[in-house]
């Protein structure tokens, strides 16, 4: 259990802090209404973190932290105050505090900063938040923060509300609609017509791929990708440009994009996009012992690559089903494109692999494929069904 002590002369503020931190499990909140009481509380409850106001009667923030350090305490301190004058805050740096929150504050800011401190045990109280390699230009000074054994539970605040596959930023609404039409259903997407909402999205959702139009009016795409990378450095960034834009690929590269898409969209291009940035595992989804093969999007000349990826993912899925001790595999191939040669090869390899693992094999497919399989020796006796429900009802 971690202990947080709030030292503030405002009862309502202490109440707000208590309410905000209530969302955190394994955190106990203590209170004091001035520095003197706070120092007594420190002796008593041995807090892991102190939230300290600056302006208080009896004993103010600066005097409190000075006395705290003089007594040999290295407990981390976050200043939680309306005071922002440099002449008052800067001298407190000497005593060492880890962070600062200005009042009035958003509960999210408080929770994030408290979580961060409680997750990291600060060895030296004199180390400031901005004391790390990046700021010391290779002075060789190491970050003294070490991870404590305090690990967040599921009830802790996550950084993002959700994970989304694609963010498309283009000033024309129809572009997003058209792009959505090309994407398989399982690929999630958000779109934004302008930078401000895109930045807002990136603060709330984790994206895998971010697509940015290079030619939005009054928008500096180089600045926008920079700003978005500041918030989310991990996504792949893809530029979007008209086919006729001169030197689009060069411009995209110079601005730091990982790839480029051109408008108007076509299936082959989108297929390449999906193949490049989305795992082939997503072509195949698994629930319990049921493997569902997803849609194919693209031109027919890309069918071999599609089936190749699906085949690998299906084999992996069968391995996982066996490892989970199911006794059968049910392959739902209803949405598989009608390519007899590829489909039969896929099903034969899946059946053989399931047999090797001792799993019974069931297949859901259409009548054409059913007829084809009946004509092949290896699959003539296969249990084939028209619907998933029908297959599941069989023992």
């Amino acid at each position: 259990m971690k202990r947080v002590l709030t030292i503030d002369d405002s009862r309502s503020l202490r109440s707000i802090v208590k309410k905000a931190l209530k969302t955190l499990e394994e955190v106990e909140i203590f209170e004091a209404e001035d520095g003197q009481q706070g120092l007594a509380a420190v002796e008593e409850c041995q807090p892991d973190l102190i939230l300290l106001d600056v302006t208080m009667p009896v004993m103010d923030g600066p005097a409190t932290i000075k006395e705290l350090r003089a007594r040999g305490s290295n407990v981390p301190v976050i200043l939680l105050t309306a005071e922002s004058k440099l002449s008052i805050i800067a001298p407190m740096m000497k005593e060492g505090f880890q962070d600062y929150i200005v009042k009035p504050f958003q509960p999210e800011e408080l929770v994030k900063k408290v979580v961060k401190i409680l997750q990291t045990k600060v060895e030296s109280s004199s180390k400031g938040a901005f004391d790390s390699d990046i700021y010391n230009s290779g002075s060789g000074e190491l970050d003294v923060s070490i991870k404590s054994d305090f690990a967040p539970t599921k009830s802790w605040v996550d950084i993002y509300e959700s994970a989304v596959d694609v963010l498309l930023i283009d000033d024309m609404d129809h572009v997003a609609k058209r792009f959505r039409e090309f994407l398989p259903d399982h690929i999630t997407m958000k779109n934004s017509l302008e930078p401000q909402s895109a930045i807002s999205f990136c603060r709330r959702h984790a994206f895998r791929v971010i697509v940015i139009d290079l030619e939005m009016p009054n928008v500096n795409s180089a600045a926008l990708i920079r700003q978005l990378r500041t918030i989310q450095p991990d996504p792949v960034y893809v530029a979007l440009a008209m086919r006729t834009m001169k030197d689009a690929a060069t411009t995209a590269r110079q601005q730091g994009f990982n790839g480029i898409l051109v408008k108007p969209f076509d299936a082959a291009q989108i297929d390449n996009f999906l193949a490049s940035y989305f795992s082939s595992r997503e072509l195949v989804s698994v629930e319990d012992y049921v493997i569902k093969i997803g849609q194919f999007v693209g031109s027919t000349d890309r069918l071999p690559q599609f089936f190749n990826r699906v085949s690998k993912s299906t084999i992996e899925a069968i391995d996982n089903i066996a490892a989970a001790c199911y006794d059968r595999v049910l392959l739902d191939s209803v949405e598989v494109p009608n390519s007899p040669e590829h489909v039969s090869r896929l099903i034969i390899s899946s059946v053989e692999h399931a047999k090797r693992l001792g799993l019974a094999f069931q297949l859901v497919t259409n009548n054409d494929i059913r007829a084809l399989l009946q004509s092949i020796a290896e699959t003539a006796d296969l249990a084939v069904f028209s619907t998933l429900e029908e297959a599941k009802q069989q023992p």
């Binding site: 309306a82 805050i89 600062y100 990046i134 700003q227 500041t230 918030i231």
Partner: protein
């Protein structure tokens, strides 16, 4: 040399020149070379000229002043350097730059003093770039205005040091039996610190500039509590961050800078990881522009 007396006299001259709109600042030799090259190139267009102007605070200041004078009838100051350049047009910009290129910052005999000028210009550019990005991140509606404010925030200091160099040039160009003792590097810095605030305030009040630019030049010590997400607060934070990254020619007070950064992060709603990335990006961009 009686530094206090000299400092007072220097301040008086500078203020008079500002008030009479007669202050003309020379430019860095590196900027002059770039301008010369572009003026000789027939393909130089508005975008190229704007890029040149927006890298240098002295060029930017001059262009904004010319724009304001030329477009007084419009009554609205340009929000960005691009806007000012668009209003002036290629011909006018080339004319202004052509005049400016004739005056280069004097190469002082005082070791390190020339680096103060280029150091301030580099610092100003860093603050401008940071302010622009942070304005975008914090949904401040005018990132380009934040860029301008950031670029010009230290114009007072730049004016003082350049003026000192010009004074040295004049002093030592005159034939004299014995040359008077000139300033040391510490002397340069002590004069800058002594009078930059007053020079900045004078510039801010006398020159016809947009509000946010005047406030940036005048400078602040504390964040504006009334408007957390504001150009002033963004520039104030960017200034502190640039100093923390070592992109500043003078000495810094680490405790004050760290305090400003922590306070600023809370005011502007910035997380430390974002600030780290901004810092890394900035270093990369400045390296590319060198």
């Amino acid at each position: 040399m009686q530094t206090a007396q000299f400092t007072g006299a220097l301040l008086g001259i500078l203020k008079k020149r500002i008030e009479e709109d007669k202050l003309s600042l020379p430019i860095l030799p590196t900027a002059a070379d770039v301008i010369t090259h572009s003026l000789n190139d027939a393909h130089t267009d508005l975008v190229t000229l704007t890029n040149i102007v927006e890298q240098d605070p002295v060029l930017t200041m001059q262009m904004l002043r010319v724009d304001r004078t030329e477009n007084m009838a419009r009554g609205i100051a340009a929000d960005s350097i691009l806007q000012a350049c668009e209003r002036l047009g290629v011909k006018k910009i080339k004319g202004v730059l052509g005049e400016m290129v004739k005056q280069r910052v004097f190469n002082t005999r005082v070791q390190g003093a020339n680096l103060i000028v280029s150091g301030f210009c580099q610092h100003s550019l860093a603050v401008a770039l940071l302010a622009q990005d942070i304005a975008g991140l914090t949904n401040c509606p005018t990132p380009d205005a934040a860029y301008v404010a950031g670029l010009l925030h230290d114009l007072g200091s730049i004016a003082v040091i350049i003026f000192l160099l010009e004074f040295e040039k004049t002093l030592y160009s005159k034939p004299m039996a014995t040359k008077p003792e000139w300033l040391s590097l510490e002397g340069f810095w002590s004069i800058i610190k002594a009078i930059k605030a007053e020079v900045s305030t004078c510039m801010a009040s006398k020159w016809p500039l947009a509000d946010h630019v005047r406030k940036a030049i005048a400078g602040v010590v504390d964040y504006d509590v009334g408007e957390r997400i504001s150009i002033m607060n963004i520039v104030h934070f960017s200034n502190a961050l640039s100093k923390r990254l070592g992109i500043y020619p003078g000495q810094i007070n680490s405790e004050e800078i760290d305090a400003l950064l922590m306070i600023g992060c809370s005011f502007l709603g910035l997380e430390k990881e974002m600030v780290d990335r901004l810092s890394a990006q900035l270093k990369h961009r400045l390296a590319l522009s060198d």
